[in-house]
Structures are given as structure tokens and as C-alpha cells.
């Protein structure tokens, strides 16, 4: 059930109405069943996989908390990590690594190696719920949280439908207590939830889906052979597409959660206003970047052991972040580019703080310098996203190889006009949000104004939504 489909709202509205009529325990059981229904809507077979891995982690967590006398707690901990990553590895990466291995052997002259490929469909959301399960197991093992005593509560923490398919990846210490304690219906947050859903739908259906038309045409070769202008058009269009798509998804997820009395962490903070790539990752897919920081970068040593080890740790973290996005060399290269740029930035501009926010205080640089840095960061990101979007390394390189050809065709003007038509409103909204620090535009305005804006948003959605065939980009991860 896609968040931007009528089916989702036919599901969400009765769930919300019925949910608030139940007591706390019944709410949790009802939401768990609703979440399983939501997940099973794609394919019931994958439900068994998710319930299975949830059950195993629930049981393992009982054995590994620091206070437990079980002498094998470390073994259970390692068993759980291996199990979670094995499931992810088999479903998501087996064919990729097996195929790459066979390809490498073929280049060495070894052919016809009988290596079986699984060719299995990727279970929806497996990367997201696996990371959430791993965070839970690590946190319980480290004694940061108590293991959940109720399967219903733990199961709901993993499978709560607004975050189940594409995050935001919820931390156990943030979401689990919300599952365990009774929730109250807060009128302001309920209204904000509805506004977030409208904001998300505009980002996804109007911005992302229309930019996708241009990005798909450039990457699909419909504009002809690559040149400088097409690289610009394709990468910019895809950059706005993926931002509108995923931030839109996150807004709808957060809004849906708020209708149910939950609070999800903010996942995007105006990422295209970042003045460094470091800053970008503090603003983009925050739930993933902080997960990687806490569960991978810090355990690797973080920045505590000198420049070279910091650079190494950044590189490893970003390559694995790239691989997390998909089983393809294009994602690995995307991650590697980010790893290298982050390491270089770190060398020249050492980080002063780990908190979320700009890498260097914006008031310490001039207006022009700040915007020059922002534009540079945006373009570095755009070029790296060429690898993210391309279906193969060859096609990414073929696209970028056109950078030295400046041939202009008249239809490009219309294409750039269309790109501006759909990306500039989001850019302006981001400027507004950056100065106001709100979660959606006009969040502090009167209820009457926000209600009117939501009604206007519905009219825009009705007549400017792109094709309904574009699934969310991050659903494939």
C-alpha cells in the first residue's frame, strides 16, 4: 500500500478512528494487526519472514541484557547480529555478490561456474526493519535500554506501519517507550500530523513525480546522447526527485504516526542548504546517518585515532551506506564518492561539533561565500547521484562523459522550465523552513490559514500530481 495511493487513506482513516476508541493494550494489539495487514498487502509470504525475525530478536533480547546471568549472552548477541545480517544478505545481496564473483572469474578465463542465483524478490522494507532490530539488540546488550517484556510491544515497535517500509529508522530508546506507555490524543499534534501528510503528498506527488518524468527521460536516453546540459538536467531533476520523494514519504510517515499519538524523529532538515557534505549528511536521511554514526562509525573508532583512521572510518561507513541503498556497484561508487569527499572535507575543515547543524557556523562566512559553498555542495551531490540513479556503472560513466559537449537543443529550455516550475517551490519552502525552524511551512500560522492552505494543497494535488506509476524511490531499499 503506497502512501500516495487512495488505498492507503481508505486504510488509515478507519484505523485512526477505531484506534482512539480502544484502551492502551487493545490499541497496541490492533495496531500490530493493522501493521501486519499493511505489510501483507504487498505479499503475505514476506510477513512470515518479518514475524520470524521479530520473534527471534525478541527472545534473544531476553537473554542478553547486562543484568542477566546467562553466561552465553555474548554468543546470543553475536548469533542475533549474524542472523539479522544473514537474512538481509541473502535476500538483498546474495545474487549481487554471486553475480559479481562469476563476472570476475569470467574475466580471468573461468567460465560456466555453476553458481546458483536465488532471483528472489526483495522483501519490502527489509533494510529498514533489520537496522531497527539490530539497534534494539545492540542497545539491550549495551544496557542502554531494558528488553521489552511484551511481544506485542516489541512487535509493534518493529512493524508500526508508518515507518515499516521506508523509515524513518526509529531508535528503540525513542519509540519503544511510546509503545509501552499510554498515548494521549493531543489536538495540536493531531492537526500537525494532518498538515504533515498534505506537505508530504505535495512533495511526493507534485514535486518528485514531475521531476521524475525529466530524470527518467534523461537517464533513459530519450533526449539523445549525453551532453553538458543533459547531465545538468538529469542530475538536477533526479536530485529534486529523490529529495521530494523521500522527504515526502517521511512527512507522510511522521504525519500518520502523529495521528496515532506517536512521534517520529525528523528525517530531513533542508538538505540542499548544506554548505558541506558533512552538513548535508546531518540534514539528509537523518535517521540513517545517525544510525550509521552510532552503530558503525563510532564502533570503528570514529575520529578518535588520528586523521588517517578517521578518513578510513568515514570511507568504510559511506561505502556501506551506499551498499545499504542497493545491491549494485553504482551504489558502492556513490558511497565511495561521499566517503572520499567527507574525508577530504574533514582534513581541511575539522568538525567542531557532532550535533545536528551546519558544519561551520553560517554567520562566520559571508553571504556570497555561504551560497557558493551551498551551490558547490549541491553540484557534488548531484554528480554523485548520477551513479545512484543509473542502472549500471557504464551508463553512469556514459552520461558523465557528455560533460565536455555543450551542444544546445531548443527543447532543453522547456525541460529546464519544467524543472524550475516544480523544484523552485520546494526550494522556497526550504528557505522558509530554514529561517523558521518549523517542520512544515506556515506551521505557526492560524488554524484557519493552515486549513485553507491544506485545501489549496488538495487542489494542487488533484491537478498537478505526476504519474501514479512512480513508487517511492526508497521502497526498493
Amino acid at each position: 500500500m503506497l502512501f500516495d495511493s487512495p488505498a492507503y487513506f481508505l486504510f488509515l482513516i478507519p484505523v485512526v478512528l477505531l484506534y482512539w476508541r480502544l484502551n492502551h493494550r487493545a490499541q497496541n494489539i490492533f495496531l500490530l494487526l493493522a501493521s501486519y495487514f499493511f505489510y501483507g498487502w504487498w505479499d503475505w509470504r514476506f510477513l512470515a519472514l518479518m514475524i520470524g525475525s521479530t520473534t527471534v530478536d525478541f527472545l534473544v533480547a531476553q537473554k542478553i541484557a547486562p543484568g542477566r546471568s546467562d553466561p552465553d549472552r555474548k554468543k546470543w548477541f553475536i548469533f542475533s547480529l549474524i542472523l539479522n545480517f544473514t537474512i538481509l544478505g541473502i535476500f538483498k545481496y546474495f545474487d549481487f555478490f554471486a553475480g559479481s564473483f562469476v563476472g570476475a572469474l569470467a574475466k580471468l578465463g573461468v567460465h560456466d561456474l555453476p553458481l546458483p542465483l536465488i532471483r528472489i524478490i526483495l522483501p519490502p522494507g527489509i533494510s529498514f526493519y533489520t537496522f531497527q532490530e539490530v539497534a534494539y539488540i545492540v542497545d539491550v546488550y549495551k544496557g542502554r535500554i531494558e528488553p521489552s517484556k511484551s511481544f506485542f510491544e516489541y512487535g509493534l515497535f518493529i512493524s508500526l506501519f508508518p515507518h515499516l517500509i521506508a523509515g524513518p529508522i526509529q531508535r528503540p530508546s525513542h519509540l519503544l517507550p511510546q509503545v509501552q506507555k499510554p498515548r494521549t490524543l493531543d489536538a495540536d499534534r493531531f492537526f500537525d500530523g494532518a498538515m504533515l501528510i498534505f506537505s508530504g503528498l505535495i512533495r511526493k506527488c507534485v514535486i518528485a513525480d514531475n521531476c521524475a518524468v525529466l530524470a527518467n527521460a534523461v537517464f533513459g536516453g530519450q533526449f539523445g546522447p549525453s551532453n553538458f546540459w543533459l547531465v545538468l538536467l538529469g542530475t538536477y531533476a533526479f536530485t529534486w526527485q529523490v529529495y521530494g520523494d523521500f522527504s515526502g514519504y517521511s512527512d507522510i510517515a511522521r504525519g500518520s504516526a502523529q495521528l496515532l499519538g506517536f512521534h517520529f524523529m525528523v528525517n530531513f532538515r533542508q538538505p540542499f542548504l548544506a554548505n558541506r557534505l558533512q552538513d548535508f549528511w546531518r540534514r539528509w536521511h537523518i535517521s540513517l546517518s545517525t544510525w550509521l554514526r552510532d552503530y558503525l562509525y563510532f564502533p570503528l573508532g570514529g575520529s578518535a585515532h588520528g586523521q588517517w583512521k578517521t578518513a578510513r572510518n568515514l570511507f568504510i561507513t559511506m561505502v556501506l551506506a551506499g551498499l545499504w541503498h542497493g545491491a549494485n556497484w553504482t551504489f558502492i561508487i556513490f558511497g565511495a564518492i561521499h566517503g572520499v569527499v567527507l574525508a577530504v572535507e574533514r582534513y581541511f575543515f575539522p568538525a567542531k561539533s557532532r550535533s545536528v547543524g551546519p558544519a561551520i557556523p553560517e554567520n562566520s562566512v559571508s553571504f556570497f561565500s555561504l551560497w557558493a559553498q551551498r551551490i558547490l555542495t549541491f553540484n557534488v551531490l548531484g554528480l554523485s547521484l548520477a551513479f545512484f540513479r543509473a542502472t549500471s556503472l557504464t551508463s553512469a560513466v556514459q552520461l558523465l562523459a557528455g560533460l565536455s559537449n555543450f551542444t544546445w537543443h531548443s527543447e532543453y529550455a522547456s525541460a529546464f522550465f519544467m524543472l524550475c516550475l516544480f523544484s523552485i517551490p520546494l526550494f522556497l519552502a526550504d528557505l522558509l523552513l530554514e529561517s523558521s525552524n518549523h517542520e512544515y511551512p506556515f506551521a505557526a500560522s492560524s488554524y484557519a490559514l493552515r486549513t485553507s492552505l491544506a485545501a489549496a494543497a488538495l487542489i494542487i494535488l488533484a491537478y498537478f500530481s505526476g504519474s501514479n506509476l512512480n513508487a517511492f524511490v526508497y521502497f526498493q531499499f
Binding site: M1, L2, S5, P6, A7, Y8, W20, R21, L22, N23, H24, W41, W42, P182, R183, T184, L185, D186, A187, D188, F190, F191, A194, V213, L214, N216, A217, G220, Q222, F223, S410, E411, A413, S414, A415, F417, M418, L421, Y447, A448, R450, T451, A454, A455, L458, I459, A462, Y463, F464, S465, G466, S467, N468, L469
Partner: protein, 318 residues
């Protein structure tokens, strides 16, 4: 015990209810306005509705009357055939009932024909001409078609044939039931046409021809589709002819298509081989015939279609 909603009378709840009310009113307004726009301002809807209504009334010819031919296809035929001239050229032998809708393909017409037959259409010959790419495409047109050609059962069957997930299937079902949902992308395109300068050239580029699968897959897909169409037509007493309109550089595909048709026991009609037409017979999109190309194609079709039908008349039902 249910949670008490202590602040249910507060301003946010009031406005949330107002917003829900506005949404409901807007949804009804979208539906009504889309219906009015479609029925009174859509040339495509008016043309196809008229053609569809005529096609439902088609019956086998009596002795001495021209053969009744239902001809269905997409923009390749809409732009490529001068229907009035074609009817004039063939009036002594054929009575043509055309239904041409842009961007349609195999599945649109499989279920479109099924419904036409169900509603009583009984042509002696069915000519399907959608081009090779569209014949092999795994899609249905999301606007117009679910509303005009499918009933609810067809919609679900098409979704199943296309292996759509439940979300896509429910969207298609909604496109069958709601005029607004069905036509919103058409309205969006019209708005963008007016907002974006020189958008016509851009939109031509953005339209993508479905890719042609490799040869073995091509034959397997084409064979099963041709047989299914043939069985459908034969079950209703009609003979199937596959018309392959010319598109540039499509000789190989056309050859493969005629081969597949031969294997499936279906007549394939190629009035003009693609190699015979230079680019001057095509529109700037290099896909559709221009008026000069249409003139040639119409004449060739008027010559070869009666010839094809007469060549093996013993095998012709009715």
C-alpha cells in the same frame, strides 16, 4: 477502557473536522467537474464514445452486403488512416467501424474487444493495429481505457494479467469507477501544455516507446497474445487480422511479428514495409505518418485488406 479525549472541542479538532469536510466537498467537486469536462469538452472522449457506440451495433453482413470490419488501434492508425477516404475506396467490399484511441496497446484492446463482444458487437472481421511495441507492451492506458473499455471484472482481470500489485490494481479499479481519477493526468497534461513554453516538442520527447524484447521472448509473447486474440474473435464468429503500420527502422520487428502471426494462424497485413517510406512521410516525432504518409498508407490498406480477406475466404467465419 477507552481513552478520554479531553481536548476534543479545541480549535485544532474543530479545524481538522473543517478540513475533512472541505476535502469531502472538493472530492465531490473534482468528480462532478471532471465529468462535465470529459463529456462536454473532450474531443477524444466524444470521438471514441461515438465510435464505440457504432461498434456495439455492428452485425454480420447479409448476402450481397459489404463485410463488416471492426478496426481498432492507436495513434498510428488515427494519424495513418484517412478513414473517410478508406471507407470510400473500399465501400463496395467492406463496411468499416473504426475505434482509434491514442497510446493503446494489446491489453487495452483484448479487454476492449471482450467487452464489445459481450455488449453484442458481431463484426465478421476484427483488425487490430497498434504497432509492434505496443502489441508487446505490458501495460494498459490508465486514462480513458478503464472508464470507456473495461468493466470492473475486466479491470481486475487486466490487473491480474499485468501482475499488478494490490495498490496498482486498486488504482486501476478507481480509474474505472471515478472520472476524476481517470482523467486527472489528462487535465494535468493540458495545464502543463499551456504553462510550459514549446511544451509540445518536450512532451513528444518524454513519451517513450515501450522496448522490444529479444527475439525468443518476442516470439513467445507475440504467439500467446495472438492466439488469445484469435480465440476471442473466433469464439464470437469473427476473423482476426493483425495490421502492422509502418514506423521508421522497424523492419526487423515487423518481420518477427509477421512470423509470429503465421505461427499463430493469424493473418498479418503489412500494407507498406517500413523500409519503403523515407522520413519525409513521417511527422517530426519520427513515429507517426504525416498527411502524405497517411495518403499512401490509406491507399495501400484499401488495396491489401480486401485482398487479404478474399485470399482465404473459405477460412473466414460467417
Amino acid at each position: 477502557m477507552p481513552l478520554s479525549i479531553s481536548n476534543s472541542r479545541s480549535a485544532p479538532f474543530f479545524y481538522a473536522k473543517v478540513l475533512a469536510g472541505i476535502c469531502l466537498v472538493l472530492i465531490v467537486a473534482f468528480e462532478v467537474s471532471s465529468t462535465i469536462l470529459l463529456k462536454h469538452h473532450s474531443e477524444t472522449f466524444a470521438r471514441v464514445s461515438r465510435q464505440y457506440a457504432d461498434a456495439v451495433r455492428v452485425r454480420p453482413a447479409k448476402a450481397g452486403e459489404p463485410i463488416s470490419v471492426l478496426m481498432v488501434g492507436n495513434s498510428l492508425l488515427l494519424d495513418g488512416i484517412d478513414v473517410d477516404r478508406f471507407q470510400k475506396l473500399t465501400s463496395s467490399q467492406l463496411r468499416i467501424y473504426p475505434i482509434f484511441l491514442e497510446a493503446t496497446g494489446y491489453y487495452d484492446w483484448l479487454y476492449g474487444l471482450q467487452r464489445l463482444f459481450r455488449e453484442g458487437a458481431r463484426p465478421q472481421v476484427v483488425v487490430v493495429g497498434v504497432g509492434v511495441n505496443s502489441f508487446l507492451a505490458n501495460s494498459v492506458r490508465q486514462d480513458y481505457v478503464p472508464l470507456m473499455f473495461f468493466d470492473a471484472r475486466d479491470t481486475l482481470s487486466a490487473a491480474s494479467d499485468l501482475d499488478m500489485d494490490r495498490t496498482a490494481a486498486s488504482n486501476l479499479l478507481l480509474a474505472h469507477s471515478s472520472v476524476f481519477w481517470n482523467t486527472r493526468s489528462v487535465i494535468r497534461s493540458q495545464i502543463l501544455y499551456h504553462v510550459i513554453p514549446h511544451s509540445k516538442d518536450l512532451f513528444l520527447l518524454l513519451k517513450r516507446q515501450p522496448p522490444i524484447p529479444p527475439a525468443p521472448e518476442f516470439q513467445a509473447i507475440a504467439d500467446s497474445r495472438l492466439r488469445r486474440l484469435r480465440e476471442l474473435c473466433e469464439a464470437h464468429g469473427a476473423r482476426l487480422v493483425i495490421l502492422v503500420p509502418p514506423t521508421p527502422s522497424s523492419d526487423d520487428e515487423v518481420h518477427q511479428m509477421t512470423l509470429a502471426a503465421q505461427n499463430a494462424g493469424v493473418d498479418a497485413l503489412v500494407p507498406i514495409p517500413p523500409a519503403a517510406l523515407s522520413t519525409r512521410y513521417y511527422q517530426p516525432d519520427e513515429l507517426h505518418l504525416n498527411s502524405e504518409g497517411a495518403k499512401l498508407f490509406t491507399s495501400a490498406l484499401a488495396t491489401f485488406l480486401p485482398h487479404t480477406l478474399n485470399r482465404d475466404s473459405a477460412a473466414t467465419p460467417n
